[in-house]
Symmetry: C2
Subunit: 271 residues, 2 copies
């Protein structure tokens, strides 16, 4: 039913890929890669196919979790992460290896239980509500995957490009000393358009749109909807009428940001 190819470098080695064993096989490859490259600095990028639908768990993980198939598959990814961390420990690399575990978006809600859950966060994948974009982290300050580039550059001594404005921050002081995050704002884009902006605990929604539903329900908000996320992480209680000065500050931030944005052709357009 899912005629997806499994590739190694530029070659298709299996089609359709047996996805029941894909998490286990990715893990074995990753562990072997670390063992092979451990003597020198290395970079491993392990983008698991799971827990994206369609869901597959290997035989050892089928039926192990009360959360159903999604729970089984999550348990296997958890096992996989454990294998990677154990390998680093066995090779005595835990003190000088940065491990980042993150996700690209929230639950695909139209898949119901198979799509995951954002817990108390509102909505899911494809939206700029917290349930679509927020992932947990080990600190309570703000961080973004945009910050990975400057952070890893700082840790490795690499020089970041200076011919463009980078939207990321170096988070090494946060990671090393638990100091306050240098990031105090975040811009929520959907495709090429800014939908929302956060400054400190406040998030303003200029427009909202639920995704993967039969009819589009894009809405423009004037004034923007305003939520205090530390007190209201579920984005239930609009505070726009009570906090016009917060909205004005966010608008100033958005205007300054918009002036720095240059449209560029998408990377994929050249192919």
């Amino acid at each position: 039913m899912w005629n997806v190819p499994l590739m190694e470098n530029d070659s298709i080695i299996e089609r359709p890929a047996d996805q029941y064993t894909i998490t286990k096989r990715y893990t074995e490859k990753a562990v072997a890669f670390i063992e092979q490259h451990a003597p020198s600095p290395f970079f491993l990028y392990l983008p698991h196919s799971m827990v994206h639908t369609p869901l597959f768990a290997s035989a050892e993980f089928q039926g192990v979790n009360p959360r159903g198939t999604f729970g089984d598959v999550m348990a296997e990814v958890d096992w996989s992460v454990g294998q990677i961390l154990q390998t680093l420990e066995d090779l005595q690399l835990t003190e000088n290896t940065l491990v980042v575990f993150t996700s690209d978006n929230g639950p695909w809600l139209s898949m119901q239980q198979d799509g995951g859950s954002a817990g108390l966060l509102r909505d899911g994948k494809g939206t700029t509500w917290e349930g679509g974009m927020r992932v947990p982290g080990p600190i309570s300050g703000m961080g973004s995957t945009l910050d990975l580039l400057p952070t890893i550059a700082a840790l490795t001594g690499a020089v970041v490009p200076t011919d463009r404005i980078l939207d990321g921050y170096d988070l090494t002081p946060v990671l090393r000393e638990r100091s306050a995050s240098p990031r105090d704002h975040f811009f929520f884009y959907r495709q090429r358009e800014l939908y929302a902006a956060r400054q400190g605990p406040y998030k303003a929604h200029y427009r909202t749109e639920t995704c993967y539903v039969p009819e589009t329900n894009r809405r423009e908000h004037t004034p923007p909807l305003l939520y205090q996320l530390e007190q209201d992480p579920s984005e239930k209680y609009d505070r726009s009428a009570e906090q016009p000065e917060v909205l004005a500050a966010i608008q100033a931030l958005v205007t300054a940001h918009a002036a720095t944005v240059r449209e560029r052709p998408a990377e994929m357009e050249k192919y």
Copy 2:
């Protein structure tokens, strides 16, 4: 504004009660009570006024928590629990004291942030959705405050009444040996009426009603709504059409239960 009396035994000792210091004063009284009674068996019931609205935190706890006033007040109740536990530790009573920390209902949603949050659970106080009734516990099996009577009776060697049917279970094997809970079902009442029933992971809603809203929205469900709570704790995905045999089993349980229920005058009616 809140002309509530503070009573000690049968006497009003302060009116209006200074609620800013009420959590601290309840705690001091509780600690003194334990210290006084520690040589012999004792029972302490400490029903904090907080975190019910209106919310009050003492000076030391105002502004300490990013969650706002509710967070401050919760931090003070957390401090209070710490004081109680520390007292038990200081008196070397932790090995033979049972501490139960629980709540009577979910968040009062119309109070917005001041009413609390049920996290990913649906709805809140006054309803028979999970957000109205479920509280966290240290094990994943089912338990109920109905089980406190038989459990404490078993722990203390007291004899429970035999002239009536008790709806509770003795949970001591669960607490002592982490064995499976003897409770596999729960009946969700609102006032005198059964609204929902759970058996294993499945919960059937015969009727639902949102509370503290301008217009009542009581709805009867035929067939009942059916949710698999282990896979869908937010009660989002109705499975009634797919699981008629589960609904039939729950209906049989409800029918058997209804045959045991005798209406009795409310305890307060005699006053």
